[in-house]
């Protein structure tokens, strides 16, 4: 094996660091690079350490990188863990503010926009929409006396709709704001805003199940569904506009008005689609 020879006699030099006798300068130590594994001993861990540190299951928590100066590459998980730096209470508080938009959401979020809310609230809305839509269909079929056949395409429709709306519209908004050189445009905050604005669709969907249909009142349940969709639209648009207003205002007056109208129209389209696609049951028509 090529490389520097190990000389025991070097200890006599009194320099215990050099146990390797380097014969000539320019010897490449590349293949004998000794690198020790960076075992995190857990002294930076602020939270609960699972019992049994030698447990093979234990891997160092990702969000507690102990080198703040090292720039994080977007190809590592560590980069994305920054955006999940929230506690349960934070998420719940943000959801409540989305449903009751009196406090400035942007102030609540502060410097800590998260991606947990947008993604999992959108996923919840998708599954709840599927649940409510199929339950409403089952009730309608029961009333009509036919066997209920669910449509699995509802799930793909809901997924395309919610994920598309929650992630694509904020990106478009941010791109437009950047185009008009607004200095307030921050992508992650737009995504967080739109993500939490979706919370309102969960109660809307649940109300739209409207089991009154069982009592053979199809018109009433249609009214209930339209009303709940309208209320949902009102709440979430108030939330969005209230929080986007200062951002949109940082562009010129005409642009900001157009952007505002665009945001409201997009949201109205969403409310319409939610009502029409998922809750269009009537007693004698239960295929969706």
């Amino acid at each position: 094996m090529a490389g520097p020879t190990v000389s025991a006699g070097s200890a006599s030099r009194g320099d215990y660091d050099t146990l390797i006798d380097v014969d000539a300068e320019g010897v490449d130590l590349g293949e004998t690079d000794l690198e020790f594994h960076d075992f995190h001993t857990g002294d930076n861990v602020q939270g609960k350490i699972p019992a049994g540190g030698q447990n093979r299951l234990y891997e160092p928590p990702l969000s507690l990188e102990n080198d703040p100066n090292r720039p994080l590459s977007i190809w590592t998980i560590h980069f994305y863990a920054q955006f999940f730096n929230v506690e349960t209470s934070d998420v719940l508080q943000r959801c409540i503010y989305a449903l009751y938009p009196r406090v400035s959401f942007v102030d609540t979020v502060g410097d800590n926009p998260d991606l947990y809310g947008p993604f999992w609230i959108a996923s919840t809305v998708i599954l709840v929409l599927f649940f409510s839509s199929t339950l409403a269909g089952a009730i309608a079929s029961h009333v009509a006396g036919i066997r209920y056949e669910y449509n699995f395409g509802i799930l793909s429709a809901a997924a395309a709709l919610m994920y598309g709306y929650t992630f694509v519209i904020p990106i478009l908004l941010w791109a437009v704001l950047k185009w008009y050189r607004s200095e307030h445009a921050r992508l992650l905050e737009c995504v967080t805003l739109y993500g939490y604005a979706n919370t309102v669709w969960v109660p809307v969907a649940l109300v739209s199940i409207s089991p009154i249909e069982i009592f053979n009142f199809p018109t009433i349940s249609n009214v209930v569904r339209w009303t709940s969709a309208a209320v949902g639209f009102a709440i979430s648009t108030t939330f969005l506009v209230r929080n986007l207003y200062p951002v949109l205002n940082s562009t010129e007056a005409k642009t900001s008005r157009i952007l505002l109208i665009g945001v409201v129209l997009a949201h109205m389209a969403l409310a319409f689609v939610v009502k029409l696609v998922f809750f269009a049951y009537s007693i004698d028509d239960n295929s969706n």
Binding site: L57, L62, S63, L64, F84, E87, Y116, L135, Y150, L155
Partner: protein, 200 residues
């Protein structure tokens, strides 16, 4: 027990420590894995009150494998697809199959991003094994057609799956303040699959 290759290197067989397995009958090889899957199912799903047993049962689960999750996912998709409306059968099969794997991966990724200290495949393994009650729910739905009867039974099965996976994940090593955030997607996952068993 180490086996030796021709080059003289030693290979440590991770799971089996009983000697050379090349000459045994195929059935024996298969049954060993089947028994391991069975052991893991029992360990994930039956509540063990005795704390001393936890050490040994932890060892069983520590060697994760994805056979159990695959088998359960297949049976679940099959059962749901058979009882689905006629023209939807293939859509339901592929939909459920894809949903299970993608959702398991996303739930585990979520745990990792929140700072969880559990290993990726280990968590996927637990989530997959805890599907067993829902598989029985789907098979039950093949037999019983009434939704009113299916509903409470499927709710009970969802709760069983949930508690089994939550107990085995043990909070997945995230901080106290984030345990609900980490576990909530698990509820979504089993809840939706249970609902599908009800309406199918």
């Amino acid at each position: 027990m180490n086996t030796h290759t021709l080059a003289g290197d030693q290979i440590q067989d991770r799971r089996f420590s009983g000697g050379d397995t090349l000459d045994e009958p195929v059935l024996e090889t298969l049954m060993r894995d089947v028994r391991a899957v069975g052991r893991r199912v029992k360990q994930v799903l039956y509540p063990k009150v005795n704390a001393n047993v936890d050490v040994e049962s932890g060892q069983i689960i520590r060697d994760w494998d994805l056979w159990g999750p695959l088998v359960f996912c297949l049976f679940l998709s099959l059962a749901l697809s058979i009882s689905a409306p006629a023209q939807q059968a293939s859509r339901v099969f592929s939909g459920v199959f894809a949903f299970v794997w993608i959702a398991e991966a996303l739930v585990t990724l979520n745990i990792k991003l929140l700072g969880g200290s559990i290993s990726f495949f280990h968590a996927v393994c637990i989530l997959g094994y805890a599907l067993f009650p829902l598989v029985s729910g789907a098979i039950f739905s093949l037999i019983v057609k009434s939704m009113i009867i299916r509903f409470p039974i499927d709710v009970a099965l969802i709760v069983w799956s949930l508690f089994a996976s939550m107990r085995t994940l043990k909070g997945a090593g995230v901080r106290e303040g984030r345990v609900v955030l980490a576990m909530y997607p698990v509820w979504l996952f089993y809840g939706w699959l249970g609902w599908l068993c009800v309406i199918t």
